[in-house]
Protein backbone atom coordinates (compact mmCIF):
# COMPACT_ATOMS: atom_id res chain seq x y z
CA UNK A 1 0.00 0.00 0.00
CA UNK A 2 1.27 3.44 -0.77
CA UNK A 3 1.53 6.34 1.59
CA UNK A 4 -1.74 8.13 2.19
CA UNK A 5 -0.32 10.81 4.42
CA UNK A 6 3.25 11.72 3.78
CA UNK A 7 5.45 13.88 5.97
CA UNK A 8 8.68 14.83 4.25
CA UNK A 9 11.64 16.56 5.91
CA UNK A 10 9.35 18.60 8.10
CA UNK A 11 10.74 21.04 10.63
CA UNK A 12 8.95 23.58 12.78
CA UNK A 13 10.55 26.65 14.29
CA UNK A 14 8.74 29.15 16.47
CA UNK A 15 9.71 32.77 16.92
CA UNK A 16 9.77 33.52 20.63
CA UNK A 17 10.90 36.48 22.70
CA UNK A 18 14.14 34.63 23.45
CA UNK A 19 14.75 34.04 19.77
CA UNK A 20 14.15 31.04 17.58
CA UNK A 21 12.87 27.87 19.14
CA UNK A 22 13.28 24.69 17.11
CA UNK A 23 10.36 22.44 18.05
CA UNK A 24 10.65 19.77 15.37
CA UNK A 25 13.33 18.80 12.86
CA UNK A 26 13.74 16.23 10.12
CA UNK A 27 10.42 14.47 10.51
CA UNK A 28 9.88 11.82 7.85
CA UNK A 29 6.86 9.61 8.10
CA UNK A 30 4.48 7.84 5.74
CA UNK A 31 1.06 6.72 6.86
CA UNK A 32 -0.87 4.06 4.97
CA UNK A 33 -4.57 4.21 4.37
CA UNK A 34 -6.54 2.73 7.27
CA UNK A 35 -3.51 2.66 9.52
CA UNK A 36 -3.66 3.61 13.19
CA UNK A 37 -0.61 5.57 14.29
CA UNK A 38 0.19 6.60 17.84
CA UNK A 39 2.57 9.47 18.49
CA UNK A 40 4.19 9.02 21.86
CA UNK A 41 6.85 10.93 23.75
CA UNK A 42 7.47 12.97 26.83
CA UNK A 43 5.56 16.20 27.26
CA UNK A 44 7.06 19.04 25.28
CA UNK A 45 8.44 16.73 22.62
CA UNK A 46 6.31 18.27 19.91
CA UNK A 47 3.77 15.51 19.34
CA UNK A 48 0.90 17.97 19.39
CA UNK A 49 2.88 20.29 17.14
CA UNK A 50 3.22 17.47 14.63
CA UNK A 51 -0.49 16.71 14.85
CA UNK A 52 -1.34 20.37 14.27
CA UNK A 53 0.88 20.29 11.21
CA UNK A 54 -1.03 17.33 9.78
CA UNK A 55 -4.29 19.09 10.66
CA UNK A 56 -3.03 22.16 8.83
CA UNK A 57 -3.63 24.40 11.83
CA UNK A 58 0.02 25.43 11.59
CA UNK A 59 2.33 25.46 8.59
CA UNK A 60 5.76 23.84 8.72
CA UNK A 61 8.87 26.02 8.59
CA UNK A 62 10.59 23.53 6.33
CA UNK A 63 9.48 20.46 4.40
CA UNK A 64 6.11 19.37 3.03
CA UNK A 65 3.10 17.46 4.23
CA UNK A 66 0.93 15.61 1.75
CA UNK A 67 -2.45 14.04 2.19
CA UNK A 68 -3.92 11.88 -0.54
CA UNK A 69 -1.34 13.26 -2.94
CA UNK A 70 -2.06 16.90 -2.26
CA UNK A 71 -0.15 19.37 -0.15
CA UNK A 72 -1.74 20.23 3.19
CA UNK A 73 -2.19 23.98 2.87
CA UNK A 74 -4.60 24.58 5.72
CA UNK A 75 -7.12 22.95 7.98
CA UNK A 76 -10.10 21.25 6.42
CA UNK A 77 -12.89 18.82 7.15
CA UNK A 78 -11.15 15.95 5.35
CA UNK A 79 -8.70 15.90 8.27
CA UNK A 80 -10.98 15.97 11.29
CA UNK A 81 -9.50 16.75 14.69
CA UNK A 82 -10.63 15.47 18.07
CA UNK A 83 -9.27 18.05 20.45
CA UNK A 84 -7.71 17.34 23.81
CA UNK A 85 -10.42 19.22 25.71
CA UNK A 86 -13.34 18.19 23.49
CA UNK A 87 -13.92 21.81 22.29
CA UNK A 88 -17.66 21.50 21.98
CA UNK A 89 -19.50 24.79 21.61
CA UNK A 90 -21.25 25.26 24.96
CA UNK A 91 -24.26 27.08 23.49
CA UNK A 92 -25.15 24.22 21.15
CA UNK A 93 -26.62 20.87 22.16
CA UNK A 94 -24.66 17.71 21.40
CA UNK A 95 -26.82 17.20 18.33
CA UNK A 96 -26.28 20.75 17.12
CA UNK A 97 -22.54 20.49 17.70
CA UNK A 98 -22.36 17.46 15.43
CA UNK A 99 -24.89 18.92 13.00
CA UNK A 100 -22.69 21.98 12.50
CA UNK A 101 -19.97 19.70 11.14
CA UNK A 102 -22.34 17.55 9.08
CA UNK A 103 -24.00 20.59 7.55
CA UNK A 104 -20.64 22.04 6.57
CA UNK A 105 -19.46 18.87 4.84
CA UNK A 106 -22.65 17.55 3.28
CA UNK A 107 -24.98 20.59 3.35
CA UNK A 108 -24.33 21.51 -0.27
CA UNK A 109 -25.44 18.15 -1.63
CA UNK A 110 -28.01 16.80 0.79
CA UNK A 111 -31.34 17.86 2.25
CA UNK A 112 -32.01 18.65 5.88
CA UNK A 113 -33.59 15.28 6.63
CA UNK A 114 -30.54 13.44 5.34
CA UNK A 115 -28.22 15.72 7.32
CA UNK A 116 -30.16 15.05 10.49
CA UNK A 117 -30.01 11.35 9.78
CA UNK A 118 -26.24 11.50 9.44
CA UNK A 119 -25.97 13.46 12.69
CA UNK A 120 -28.13 10.96 14.53
CA UNK A 121 -26.08 8.09 13.10
CA UNK A 122 -22.82 9.65 14.29
CA UNK A 123 -24.23 10.16 17.78
CA UNK A 124 -25.53 6.62 17.75
CA UNK A 125 -22.10 5.35 16.79
CA UNK A 126 -20.64 6.67 20.06
CA UNK A 127 -23.67 5.46 22.01
CA UNK A 128 -25.08 8.82 23.02
CA UNK A 129 -28.63 8.73 21.64
CA UNK A 130 -30.04 9.60 25.05
CA UNK A 131 -27.86 12.70 25.47
CA UNK A 132 -28.29 14.13 22.01
CA UNK A 133 -30.46 17.06 23.08
CA UNK A 134 -28.34 17.90 26.12
CA UNK A 135 -25.90 20.78 26.38
CA UNK A 136 -22.22 19.99 26.92
CA UNK A 137 -22.25 21.26 30.50
CA UNK A 138 -24.99 18.77 31.33
CA UNK A 139 -22.95 15.68 30.46
CA UNK A 140 -19.80 14.07 31.84
CA UNK A 141 -16.28 14.53 30.51
CA UNK A 142 -16.27 11.12 28.86
CA UNK A 143 -19.53 11.85 27.09
CA UNK A 144 -18.24 15.20 25.87
CA UNK A 145 -15.21 13.51 24.42
CA UNK A 146 -17.50 11.01 22.68
CA UNK A 147 -19.47 13.87 21.15
CA UNK A 148 -16.15 15.28 19.98
CA UNK A 149 -15.36 11.94 18.34
CA UNK A 150 -18.86 11.79 16.83
CA UNK A 151 -18.40 15.26 15.39
CA UNK A 152 -15.09 14.25 13.84
CA UNK A 153 -16.41 10.95 12.46
CA UNK A 154 -19.61 12.51 11.13
CA UNK A 155 -17.56 14.41 8.58
CA UNK A 156 -16.31 11.11 7.13
CA UNK A 157 -12.77 12.42 7.16
CA UNK A 158 -9.94 10.91 5.19
CA UNK A 159 -7.80 11.17 8.30
CA UNK A 160 -8.87 11.26 11.92
CA UNK A 161 -6.50 13.24 14.14
CA UNK A 162 -6.74 12.90 17.89
CA UNK A 163 -4.81 15.01 20.36
CA UNK A 164 -4.68 13.10 23.64
CA UNK A 165 -8.40 12.55 23.38
CA UNK A 166 -8.70 10.56 26.58
CA UNK A 167 -6.01 12.38 28.57
CA UNK A 168 -8.44 14.17 30.86
CA UNK A 169 -10.56 11.10 31.66
CA UNK A 170 -10.43 8.63 34.51
CA UNK A 171 -8.90 5.20 33.83
CA UNK A 172 -12.21 3.29 33.62
CA UNK A 173 -13.87 5.73 31.22
CA UNK A 174 -10.70 5.82 29.21
CA UNK A 175 -10.62 2.05 28.81
CA UNK A 176 -14.24 2.03 27.73
CA UNK A 177 -13.69 4.74 25.12
CA UNK A 178 -10.55 2.99 23.84
CA UNK A 179 -12.60 -0.14 23.23
CA UNK A 180 -15.27 1.90 21.48
CA UNK A 181 -12.69 3.69 19.38
CA UNK A 182 -11.17 0.37 18.31
CA UNK A 183 -14.56 -0.86 17.15
CA UNK A 184 -15.30 2.39 15.33
CA UNK A 185 -11.94 2.38 13.56
CA UNK A 186 -12.47 -1.24 12.63
CA UNK A 187 -15.88 -0.42 11.18
CA UNK A 188 -14.99 2.81 9.39
CA UNK A 189 -11.43 1.85 8.38
CA UNK A 190 -10.41 5.37 9.30
CA UNK A 191 -6.80 6.43 8.97
CA UNK A 192 -5.99 7.68 12.43
CA UNK A 193 -3.18 9.56 14.09
CA UNK A 194 -3.41 9.77 17.84
CA UNK A 195 -1.19 11.71 20.22
CA UNK A 196 -0.85 10.00 23.56
CA UNK A 197 1.43 9.68 26.54
CA UNK A 198 -0.13 6.42 27.66
CA UNK A 199 1.97 3.39 26.72
CA UNK A 200 -0.85 0.86 27.11
CA UNK A 201 -3.17 2.96 25.02
CA UNK A 202 -0.57 3.23 22.28
CA UNK A 203 0.13 -0.51 22.16
CA UNK A 204 -3.52 -1.50 22.40
CA UNK A 205 -4.76 0.75 19.63
CA UNK A 206 -2.00 1.22 17.10
CA UNK A 207 -0.57 -0.51 14.10
CA UNK A 208 2.59 1.51 14.53
CA UNK A 209 3.91 3.55 17.42
CA UNK A 210 5.97 6.57 16.49
CA UNK A 211 8.25 7.41 19.40
CA UNK A 212 9.62 10.90 19.55
CA UNK A 213 12.83 12.12 21.11
CA UNK A 214 12.82 14.85 23.70
CA UNK A 215 12.53 18.45 22.61
CA UNK A 216 13.73 20.96 21.74
CA UNK A 217 14.47 19.98 18.17
CA UNK A 218 12.54 16.76 18.63
CA UNK A 219 12.37 14.19 15.89
CA UNK A 220 11.27 10.61 15.41
CA UNK A 221 13.39 8.32 17.54
CA UNK A 222 12.03 4.89 16.74
CA UNK A 223 9.02 3.40 15.05
CA UNK A 224 7.59 0.24 16.52
CA UNK A 225 5.31 -2.00 14.55
CA UNK A 226 2.64 -3.58 16.71
CA UNK A 227 1.98 -6.95 15.12
CA UNK A 228 -0.98 -7.97 17.18
CA UNK A 229 -4.00 -9.47 15.47
CA UNK A 230 -7.29 -7.57 15.50
CA UNK A 231 -9.78 -7.46 17.05
CA UNK A 232 -7.74 -6.94 20.18
CA UNK A 233 -8.97 -7.60 23.64
CA UNK A 234 -7.28 -5.89 26.54
CA UNK A 235 -7.74 -8.78 28.95
CA UNK A 236 -6.23 -11.49 26.76
CA UNK A 237 -3.49 -9.13 25.59
CA UNK A 238 -2.37 -8.50 29.14
CA UNK A 239 -0.70 -11.94 29.14
CA UNK A 240 0.26 -12.01 25.47
CA UNK A 241 4.07 -12.10 25.15
CA UNK A 242 3.98 -10.03 21.95
CA UNK A 243 1.99 -7.34 23.72
CA UNK A 244 4.35 -7.40 26.68
CA UNK A 245 7.33 -7.09 24.35
CA UNK A 246 5.84 -4.08 22.59
CA UNK A 247 5.04 -2.44 25.85
CA UNK A 248 8.55 -3.10 27.15
CA UNK A 249 10.06 -1.66 23.97
CA UNK A 250 8.12 1.59 24.29
CA UNK A 251 8.86 1.87 28.00
CA UNK A 252 12.52 1.26 27.36
CA UNK A 253 12.57 3.99 24.75
CA UNK A 254 10.78 6.46 26.97
CA UNK A 255 12.55 5.80 30.23
CA UNK A 256 16.01 4.68 29.23
CA UNK A 257 16.90 6.12 25.85
CA UNK A 258 14.86 9.30 26.32
CA UNK A 259 14.89 9.63 30.08
CA UNK A 260 12.94 12.68 31.06
CA UNK A 261 15.17 15.73 30.96
CA UNK A 262 12.67 18.27 32.22
CA UNK A 263 14.48 18.74 35.51
CA UNK A 264 17.73 19.52 33.78
CA UNK A 265 16.04 21.80 31.31
CA UNK A 266 14.14 23.66 34.02
Amino acid sequence: MEKFVSIEKVGQTFETKKGKFVALRDIDLGIKQGEFIALIGHSGCGKSTLLNLIAGLTRPTTGVLLCDGREIAGPGPERAVVFQNHSLLPWLTCFENVYLAVERVFGAKEGKAKLKERTAAAINLVGLDHASSKYPHEISGGMKQRVGIARALSMQPKVLLMDEPFGALDALTRAKLQDELMKICEATKATTVMVTHDVDEAVLLSDRIVMMTNGPAATIGEILEVKLPRPRDRLTLAHDPAYIDCRAAVLEFLYEKQAHVEKIAA
Binding site: G76, L89, P90, R104
Partner: protein, 318 residues
Protein backbone atom coordinates in the same frame (compact mmCIF):
# COMPACT_ATOMS: atom_id res chain seq x y z
CA UNK B 1 -38.91 80.57 37.23
CA UNK B 2 -35.60 80.53 35.54
CA UNK B 3 -36.59 77.76 33.26
CA UNK B 4 -36.64 79.91 30.16
CA UNK B 5 -33.13 81.11 30.70
CA UNK B 6 -31.95 77.60 31.42
CA UNK B 7 -33.03 76.02 28.23
CA UNK B 8 -31.19 76.19 24.96
CA UNK B 9 -27.65 77.37 24.68
CA UNK B 10 -28.07 79.95 27.39
CA UNK B 11 -27.87 79.96 31.13
CA UNK B 12 -24.71 77.98 31.12
CA UNK B 13 -22.96 80.15 33.74
CA UNK B 14 -24.92 79.00 36.71
CA UNK B 15 -24.49 75.28 36.57
CA UNK B 16 -21.05 75.27 35.08
CA UNK B 17 -19.35 74.85 38.44
CA UNK B 18 -21.61 71.92 39.00
CA UNK B 19 -20.47 69.99 36.01
CA UNK B 20 -16.96 69.11 37.16
CA UNK B 21 -18.38 67.31 40.17
CA UNK B 22 -19.96 64.85 37.83
CA UNK B 23 -16.66 64.10 36.18
CA UNK B 24 -15.08 61.62 38.59
CA UNK B 25 -18.38 59.88 39.09
CA UNK B 26 -19.12 59.19 35.48
CA UNK B 27 -15.54 58.40 34.79
CA UNK B 28 -14.97 55.90 37.54
CA UNK B 29 -17.82 53.88 36.14
CA UNK B 30 -16.61 53.93 32.56
CA UNK B 31 -13.12 52.89 33.51
CA UNK B 32 -14.29 49.73 35.20
CA UNK B 33 -15.35 47.45 32.40
CA UNK B 34 -12.16 45.47 31.98
CA UNK B 35 -11.93 44.39 35.58
CA UNK B 36 -15.61 43.81 35.93
CA UNK B 37 -15.83 41.56 32.94
CA UNK B 38 -13.70 38.99 34.65
CA UNK B 39 -15.41 39.21 37.98
CA UNK B 40 -18.93 39.14 36.65
CA UNK B 41 -19.89 35.54 35.94
CA UNK B 42 -18.77 34.21 39.32
CA UNK B 43 -20.57 37.00 41.13
CA UNK B 44 -23.83 36.34 39.37
CA UNK B 45 -23.64 32.66 40.00
CA UNK B 46 -23.17 33.24 43.68
CA UNK B 47 -26.21 35.47 43.71
CA UNK B 48 -28.21 32.81 41.99
CA UNK B 49 -27.28 30.24 44.58
CA UNK B 50 -28.24 32.34 47.57
CA UNK B 51 -31.42 33.54 45.94
CA UNK B 52 -32.74 30.17 44.86
CA UNK B 53 -34.79 28.55 47.58
CA UNK B 54 -34.63 24.80 47.47
CA UNK B 55 -38.15 23.47 47.31
CA UNK B 56 -39.29 21.00 49.88
CA UNK B 57 -37.60 22.61 52.88
CA UNK B 58 -39.73 23.10 55.97
CA UNK B 59 -41.54 26.39 56.39
CA UNK B 60 -39.42 27.51 59.34
CA UNK B 61 -36.23 27.18 57.31
CA UNK B 62 -37.79 28.96 54.36
CA UNK B 63 -38.83 31.78 56.62
CA UNK B 64 -35.30 31.98 58.00
CA UNK B 65 -33.83 32.23 54.54
CA UNK B 66 -36.37 34.90 53.68
CA UNK B 67 -35.49 36.78 56.83
CA UNK B 68 -31.81 36.60 56.08
CA UNK B 69 -32.42 37.98 52.60
CA UNK B 70 -34.75 40.79 53.62
CA UNK B 71 -33.69 41.82 57.08
CA UNK B 72 -30.25 43.37 56.40
CA UNK B 73 -31.35 45.62 53.53
CA UNK B 74 -34.44 46.76 55.43
CA UNK B 75 -32.36 47.50 58.48
CA UNK B 76 -29.89 49.46 56.38
CA UNK B 77 -32.67 51.53 54.88
CA UNK B 78 -34.20 52.21 58.30
CA UNK B 79 -30.85 53.33 59.69
CA UNK B 80 -30.36 55.66 56.73
CA UNK B 81 -33.78 57.21 57.23
CA UNK B 82 -33.14 57.38 60.99
CA UNK B 83 -29.91 59.31 60.51
CA UNK B 84 -31.67 61.55 58.04
CA UNK B 85 -34.45 62.15 60.56
CA UNK B 86 -32.09 62.91 63.44
CA UNK B 87 -29.98 65.22 61.33
CA UNK B 88 -32.95 67.24 60.14
CA UNK B 89 -35.48 67.14 63.01
CA UNK B 90 -34.24 70.40 64.55
CA UNK B 91 -35.24 72.22 61.44
CA UNK B 92 -32.88 73.86 58.95
CA UNK B 93 -32.78 74.11 55.21
CA UNK B 94 -32.90 70.36 54.49
CA UNK B 95 -36.34 68.80 54.91
CA UNK B 96 -36.74 65.63 56.97
CA UNK B 97 -38.20 62.30 55.89
CA UNK B 98 -41.74 63.18 56.93
CA UNK B 99 -41.88 66.43 54.95
CA UNK B 100 -40.33 64.70 51.98
CA UNK B 101 -42.84 61.87 52.16
CA UNK B 102 -45.74 64.34 52.25
CA UNK B 103 -44.34 66.22 49.28
CA UNK B 104 -43.86 62.92 47.43
CA UNK B 105 -47.45 61.89 48.01
CA UNK B 106 -48.69 65.17 46.50
CA UNK B 107 -46.19 64.96 43.67
CA UNK B 108 -46.99 61.40 42.66
CA UNK B 109 -50.74 61.98 42.94
CA UNK B 110 -50.56 63.59 39.51
CA UNK B 111 -47.33 62.64 37.75
CA UNK B 112 -48.55 63.36 34.24
CA UNK B 113 -49.87 66.94 34.24
CA UNK B 114 -48.83 69.53 31.71
CA UNK B 115 -48.78 73.24 32.42
CA UNK B 116 -46.82 74.49 29.50
CA UNK B 117 -43.40 73.32 28.34
CA UNK B 118 -41.51 74.12 31.55
CA UNK B 119 -43.94 72.87 34.13
CA UNK B 120 -44.78 69.24 33.65
CA UNK B 121 -45.42 66.29 35.95
CA UNK B 122 -42.50 64.24 37.24
CA UNK B 123 -43.68 61.30 35.11
CA UNK B 124 -43.09 63.28 31.91
CA UNK B 125 -39.70 64.37 33.17
CA UNK B 126 -38.60 60.82 33.86
CA UNK B 127 -39.96 59.59 30.55
CA UNK B 128 -38.21 62.24 28.52
CA UNK B 129 -34.93 61.52 30.28
CA UNK B 130 -35.39 57.83 29.58
CA UNK B 131 -36.16 58.61 25.97
CA UNK B 132 -32.93 60.57 25.56
CA UNK B 133 -30.97 57.79 27.21
CA UNK B 134 -32.73 55.24 25.00
CA UNK B 135 -31.95 57.03 21.76
CA UNK B 136 -28.37 57.95 22.60
CA UNK B 137 -27.73 54.50 23.98
CA UNK B 138 -29.35 52.80 21.00
CA UNK B 139 -27.14 54.65 18.53
CA UNK B 140 -24.12 53.88 20.69
CA UNK B 141 -24.99 50.16 20.56
CA UNK B 142 -25.48 50.33 16.79
CA UNK B 143 -22.05 51.86 16.31
CA UNK B 144 -20.14 50.52 19.30
CA UNK B 145 -20.87 46.80 19.09
CA UNK B 146 -19.93 46.32 15.43
CA UNK B 147 -16.88 48.54 15.97
CA UNK B 148 -15.93 46.39 18.95
CA UNK B 149 -16.20 43.27 16.77
CA UNK B 150 -13.97 44.81 14.13
CA UNK B 151 -11.37 45.95 16.66
CA UNK B 152 -11.43 42.53 18.30
CA UNK B 153 -10.85 40.75 14.99
CA UNK B 154 -8.17 42.97 13.54
CA UNK B 155 -4.95 43.54 15.45
CA UNK B 156 -3.99 46.32 13.05
CA UNK B 157 -7.18 48.32 13.44
CA UNK B 158 -7.10 47.71 17.15
CA UNK B 159 -3.58 49.14 17.39
CA UNK B 160 -4.71 52.05 15.23
CA UNK B 161 -7.88 52.96 17.14
CA UNK B 162 -6.92 52.02 20.70
CA UNK B 163 -4.80 55.12 21.42
CA UNK B 164 -7.68 57.31 20.27
CA UNK B 165 -10.08 55.49 22.56
CA UNK B 166 -7.64 55.69 25.48
CA UNK B 167 -7.37 59.42 24.89
CA UNK B 168 -11.08 60.13 24.61
CA UNK B 169 -12.48 57.68 27.13
CA UNK B 170 -11.40 59.51 30.28
CA UNK B 171 -12.97 62.75 29.02
CA UNK B 172 -16.17 63.61 30.83
CA UNK B 173 -19.04 63.25 28.41
CA UNK B 174 -20.19 66.71 29.49
CA UNK B 175 -17.09 68.20 27.92
CA UNK B 176 -18.59 67.13 24.60
CA UNK B 177 -21.82 68.97 25.27
CA UNK B 178 -20.75 72.34 23.81
CA UNK B 179 -19.64 70.57 20.64
CA UNK B 180 -23.04 68.93 20.51
CA UNK B 181 -24.78 72.26 20.96
CA UNK B 182 -22.64 73.74 18.22
CA UNK B 183 -23.34 70.95 15.77
CA UNK B 184 -27.01 70.34 16.47
CA UNK B 185 -27.96 73.94 17.42
CA UNK B 186 -30.53 72.50 19.79
CA UNK B 187 -30.42 71.35 23.38
CA UNK B 188 -32.26 68.09 23.01
CA UNK B 189 -30.13 66.33 20.39
CA UNK B 190 -27.05 67.70 22.13
CA UNK B 191 -28.01 65.90 25.33
CA UNK B 192 -28.75 62.71 23.40
CA UNK B 193 -25.40 63.03 21.69
CA UNK B 194 -23.69 63.32 25.06
CA UNK B 195 -25.33 60.05 26.07
CA UNK B 196 -24.11 58.51 22.84
CA UNK B 197 -20.53 59.54 23.59
CA UNK B 198 -20.54 58.23 27.13
CA UNK B 199 -22.26 54.93 26.27
CA UNK B 200 -20.08 54.00 23.36
CA UNK B 201 -16.76 53.38 25.13
CA UNK B 202 -17.79 50.51 27.41
CA UNK B 203 -19.57 48.87 24.49
CA UNK B 204 -16.60 49.07 22.14
CA UNK B 205 -14.12 47.96 24.76
CA UNK B 206 -16.09 45.08 26.21
CA UNK B 207 -17.13 43.75 22.82
CA UNK B 208 -13.56 43.96 21.54
CA UNK B 209 -12.29 42.23 24.63
CA UNK B 210 -14.90 39.53 24.32
CA UNK B 211 -13.89 38.89 20.73
CA UNK B 212 -10.23 38.69 21.69
CA UNK B 213 -11.03 36.26 24.47
CA UNK B 214 -12.97 33.79 22.36
CA UNK B 215 -11.17 30.55 23.23
CA UNK B 216 -8.69 29.49 20.57
CA UNK B 217 -10.22 26.00 20.73
CA UNK B 218 -13.51 27.27 19.33
CA UNK B 219 -11.70 29.08 16.55
CA UNK B 220 -9.70 25.94 15.81
CA UNK B 221 -12.97 24.04 15.50
CA UNK B 222 -14.12 26.67 13.04
CA UNK B 223 -10.89 26.30 11.09
CA UNK B 224 -10.98 22.51 10.99
CA UNK B 225 -14.60 22.58 9.85
CA UNK B 226 -13.66 25.40 7.45
CA UNK B 227 -16.86 27.23 8.41
CA UNK B 228 -17.95 30.21 6.38
CA UNK B 229 -17.33 33.65 7.91
CA UNK B 230 -21.09 33.98 8.44
CA UNK B 231 -21.24 30.72 10.38
CA UNK B 232 -18.19 31.73 12.39
CA UNK B 233 -19.89 34.98 13.39
CA UNK B 234 -23.32 33.52 14.16
CA UNK B 235 -22.38 30.16 15.65
CA UNK B 236 -19.12 30.96 17.41
CA UNK B 237 -18.23 34.62 17.78
CA UNK B 238 -21.62 36.05 18.66
CA UNK B 239 -22.55 33.52 21.36
CA UNK B 240 -19.04 33.64 22.81
CA UNK B 241 -18.99 37.43 22.93
CA UNK B 242 -22.56 37.88 24.14
CA UNK B 243 -21.76 37.91 27.88
CA UNK B 244 -19.08 40.54 27.34
CA UNK B 245 -21.39 42.58 25.16
CA UNK B 246 -24.08 42.52 27.82
CA UNK B 247 -21.59 43.66 30.43
CA UNK B 248 -20.70 46.55 28.15
CA UNK B 249 -24.36 47.39 27.70
CA UNK B 250 -25.00 47.30 31.41
CA UNK B 251 -22.05 49.56 32.20
CA UNK B 252 -23.10 51.91 29.41
CA UNK B 253 -26.62 52.29 30.60
CA UNK B 254 -25.44 52.96 34.15
CA UNK B 255 -23.13 55.69 32.92
CA UNK B 256 -25.77 57.07 30.58
CA UNK B 257 -28.19 57.43 33.43
CA UNK B 258 -25.55 59.22 35.52
CA UNK B 259 -24.70 61.57 32.71
CA UNK B 260 -28.21 62.43 31.57
CA UNK B 261 -28.99 64.16 34.87
CA UNK B 262 -25.98 66.42 34.55
CA UNK B 263 -26.53 67.01 30.85
CA UNK B 264 -30.11 68.04 31.37
CA UNK B 265 -29.10 70.45 34.10
CA UNK B 266 -27.03 72.18 31.48
CA UNK B 267 -29.41 71.99 28.55
CA UNK B 268 -32.80 72.40 30.19
CA UNK B 269 -36.07 71.40 28.59
CA UNK B 270 -38.01 68.51 30.05
CA UNK B 271 -36.17 65.85 31.98
CA UNK B 272 -35.33 64.71 35.45
CA UNK B 273 -32.02 66.56 35.57
CA UNK B 274 -33.61 69.77 34.45
CA UNK B 275 -36.40 69.21 36.97
CA UNK B 276 -33.88 68.96 39.82
CA UNK B 277 -32.30 72.23 38.75
CA UNK B 278 -35.67 73.87 38.33
CA UNK B 279 -36.78 72.82 41.80
CA UNK B 280 -33.51 74.19 43.17
CA UNK B 281 -34.37 77.52 41.61
CA UNK B 282 -37.81 77.24 43.18
CA UNK B 283 -36.13 76.28 46.47
CA UNK B 284 -38.30 73.17 46.78
CA UNK B 285 -35.66 71.09 48.49
CA UNK B 286 -38.07 68.20 49.25
CA UNK B 287 -38.47 67.75 45.53
CA UNK B 288 -34.74 67.56 45.04
CA UNK B 289 -34.51 64.79 47.61
CA UNK B 290 -37.42 63.02 45.94
CA UNK B 291 -35.61 63.38 42.63
CA UNK B 292 -32.49 61.82 44.12
CA UNK B 293 -34.51 58.80 45.17
CA UNK B 294 -36.31 58.61 41.84
CA UNK B 295 -33.04 58.77 39.90
CA UNK B 296 -31.60 56.08 42.13
CA UNK B 297 -34.59 53.81 41.73
CA UNK B 298 -34.78 54.20 37.96
CA UNK B 299 -31.05 53.53 37.69
CA UNK B 300 -31.44 50.45 39.85
CA UNK B 301 -34.30 49.14 37.72
CA UNK B 302 -32.33 49.71 34.51
CA UNK B 303 -29.31 47.87 35.87
CA UNK B 304 -31.23 45.00 37.41
CA UNK B 305 -33.32 44.39 34.31
CA UNK B 306 -30.15 44.18 32.25
CA UNK B 307 -28.62 41.73 34.72
CA UNK B 308 -31.79 39.66 34.42
CA UNK B 309 -31.64 39.80 30.65
CA UNK B 310 -27.97 38.80 30.71
CA UNK B 311 -28.73 35.85 32.93
CA UNK B 312 -31.51 34.72 30.68
CA UNK B 313 -29.49 35.01 27.49
CA UNK B 314 -26.31 33.44 28.79
CA UNK B 315 -27.84 30.63 30.80
CA UNK B 316 -27.15 27.99 28.22
CA UNK B 317 -23.60 29.10 27.54
CA UNK B 318 -22.51 28.71 31.14
Amino acid sequence: MSATTMSGDFGLEQPVDRAPKEVPLGDSITSQPVAEVVAEPAKEKKMEKTAALPSGVPFGEKFNTFLRAVLPPTLGMLILIGIWYVATHKGGSIPGPVQTWDAAVTLFADPFYRNGPNDQGIGWNILSSLQRVGIGFGFAALVGIPLGFILGRSAFLSAMINPIISLLRPVSPLAWLPIGLLVFKKADPAATYTIFICSIWPMIMNTAQGVQRVPQDYLNVARVLALSEWKVVTKILFPAVLPYMLTGIRLSIGTAWLVIVAAEMLTGGVGIGFWVWDEWNNLKVEHIIIAIFVIGIVGLILEQSLILLAKKLTKESS
